[in-house]
Amino acid sequence: MKAHFGPAQSGAYSLSRLTSKHKQAEKVVLEMQDPTTGVKLQPQRLVITTIPHAITGKQICLFYSEARSFGSMLVALGYIYPIQDHKRLVVKPDASLYRFQTPYFWPTQQWPVEDTDYAIYLAKRNIRKKGILELHEQEQYNHLHKWMNHKWDFIVMQAKEQYRAAKERKKPDRVVFDCQERAYWVVHRPPVRTHTCMFLSLQKTFMIFTQQSIMRPRVKSSVSIGALVKYCATYKGHDPFLSKCLPSNPWLTDDVTYWALNMPNVEIPTKMRVERWTFSFGELLSDPRGRDDFRLFLKKEFSGENLAFWEGCEDLKWGTAATMKEKAEQIYKTFLARGAPRWINIDGKTMEITVKGLKHPHRYVLDAAQTHIYMLMKKVSKHVSSDSQLEQNARNRRPSLSPIIIRQQEQEQKAKMAASAPVDITQLCRFTTPVPHLAVYSGMTDPPSANASPSLPFLAHTPACPSPISVALDSTSASERRAEASEGESEGNPEARASAGGNVSKSRMALSLRRLLKRGCTPSSMFASLSPKCNPAAGTSSRIQPISPDEPSQAPPRRIGNFFQIKVDIPPECRIYPIESEDEDEENRAVSRERVGTKEIICPWESLTPQNGTG
């Protein structure tokens, strides 16, 4: 632990070292001070006194045309601080009060944030609060006391003197200074939560990002190129320009049949479209048609509330700000509250964070819960037998409705679903009959019912590499890519569909699935038990090897089938894996606290050690 009293840097702290972001922020802050064109100030009335120069969130937003995000940046960086909800560095466009931070506490780059100062601050708080500090502050205190033990006497002495000096100020000024100091440390030493849901300020995001970039595990280019190749191989057949598009490529000819066959609400999806759903859970969910089928399936299993919750979260994220609060409340009442009509089963910790966050709802307050449910549904989608609308391909219909009518239909359907009771099971018979020539086996089926063809484990995924492609994959909307229409014959497609028979008994599947859902297990345990290949960093021991033709005996027998029963005959050198590594990585990160040996998010100040010249 090298420490030295730094004389360090000569006094050449030029303003040119400011980052452009800070420069811009300071410029705006100074503009806001103008008595005529600046932000309107108002007094803050306290019991003991009145303090001037407060501003409302609304006024911050009004000041600048792109204000909402810029105002948030000002607060996140620390140029403006909230008076009331001081720990949340966000701009609320209402009457919440804020104040300008004094230039002494501005976050300029040439004044590194010193641990000595933080130690003095904590000691001061200790004096005032008689030892009752917050948990993260206590931890920091103990850590600093150990690390700075040699100057601890100075720290305590300075804290006492600062405390006494502050008392020489008049009370309103003293309150202001205390608020300023507190706000400074909220920005620079925020409590780091290890839960999945972290609300990072912009500055902290930047610091953590750069540090994690440094620490990110490296991947060989051969591996990432391999992922790229796999992606191309997977999606090549679905690209209308790279492969033959039936009946014809509407972008080249004027025949819009292709689009008509692949409209969002088409009754019978095309074979290629359904095949796309097998690529990843994200594909299934982003295609409204796939989502419909999945919803119906979940309804059948009495777990449609998961999808409904997921959709509610999406609605909250992308909806208007005005409706956000009511939506959040609605979602809470419907899905999260005790005894709610469509209660979803999420683990205790996630529930705790979510409920806590709902006290001050914002767009992303349900992210943690939504991710949990997403993972849950993803597991479900792999273990559910289905499906047969593929047999209906022969009966393709050709609707030609205008977009307006389509939209109306969508709204009506939404309304209908919101009001409907659980679906009558008899209506779902079309999901139960498998298509003989379109069945595929993952390693998940019973060995006796498997046939001789090579099986394709859907849960196999690429070696752990956060491939950027999968990010692109998830974000591509399904409406942009439509599968080829087919008339039930295999095309000149290298992945020709071969036939195979067999399916899995439905009752066994239904039972185990219900158990799966009701168990409400955490994603980590589910993942560990079901995934064929865990992340190498994971410390779990229940690893399941992917099935290959050579080693069929390695797979533990599973009694559940798949949502999809598409058979794909693939030459071994061209395996298609659904590219889900991004999701798995996210999930792994989310549960990293439960695993041994994975990296946790490093607090920015821990790596600032070499910069702090003090010992």
Binding site: T102, Y104, Y141, W152, R169
Partner: protein, 235 residues
């Protein structure tokens, strides 16, 4: 050396030690007042009075630092001869480490002050328009008085002209590097004299007000204002 000589030496050493300790306290006091003043630079409470007070405080700090560094250097360089014992040396080393920490901390504030004064020059009246409205209005008379109350034997006797801000910074930096070169003190051998959390039990004579108490919002009848600033936690 005779016993009488030894005891005189010991007394002298003890006196020097006490002097240094008091000087250290004084330095802490002055630098914390300096911090209160610098926190107002660039804000709506900035003005010529504040700038003058900054210079005054800086000058006092400068005198304390010069005197203290001299004495510490002298004591630690000479203590090889005096048989006063390991314990005295330890105390002096502790003071040494504390002084250097204080210097570093003060330098940090000085650099901030230098930048802020550069960024907010008050040379013209129009400069006042860009001062940040932070909510502070009052002057710092109390703080200035606190600085003036510092008393040390050499403050009045060893008066030298105080440097301007930039020179002050460079002067301190030079002082620090010089001190570290001349006396090799193992800072890691110094330990805190009080345990962790000890300061929480101190200060029985003050009425300690928490920030939540001070921030209590006026409850207007019929309005939805909450009684407290919404901290609901350790403020």
């Amino acid at each position: 050396m005779s016993r009488w000589h030894r005891s005189v030496d010991e007394l002298a050493a003890r006196r020097r030690q006490h002097e240094c300790e008091r000087a250290q306290d004084a330095l802490s006091r002055v630098t914390s007042c300096f911090q209160q003043l610098v926190a107002l630079v660039g804000s709506s409470a900035d003005g010529s009075f504040l700038r003058d007070e900054l210079d005054e405080t800086r000058a006092v700090a400068h005198r304390i630092c010069s005197g203290l560094s001299c004495r510490l250097l002298r004591s630690l360089s000479n203590s090889d001869f005096a048989p006063s014992g390991v314990q005295d040396r330890q105390v002096l080393e502790r003071l040494w480490v504390l002084f250097l920490s204080a210097l570093e901390h003060f330098l940090y504030d000085l650099r901030k002050a230098c930048d802020l004064i550069g960024q907010f020059p008050l040379t013209e009246h129009s400069n006042r328009r860009s001062l940040v409205n932070t909510g502070c209005v009052d002057g710092v008379v109390g703080v200035a008085a606190r600085v003036a109350s510092v008393q040390l034997p050499w403050l009045t006797s060893e008066v030298e002209p105080s440097p301007d801000l930039t020179n002050h910074i460079t002067g301190l930096e030079t002082m620090m590097s010089e001190m570290q070169q001349r006396v090799p003190v193992a800072f890691w051998s110094v330990e805190a004299t009080q345990p962790a959390w000890a300061e929480a039990r101190g200060e029985p004579d003050d009425l300690v007000e928490s920030l939540e108490d001070l921030m209590e919002v006026e409850v207007i009848a019929g309005s939805k204002k909450t009684a407290c600033c919404g901290l609901g936690c350790v403020g």
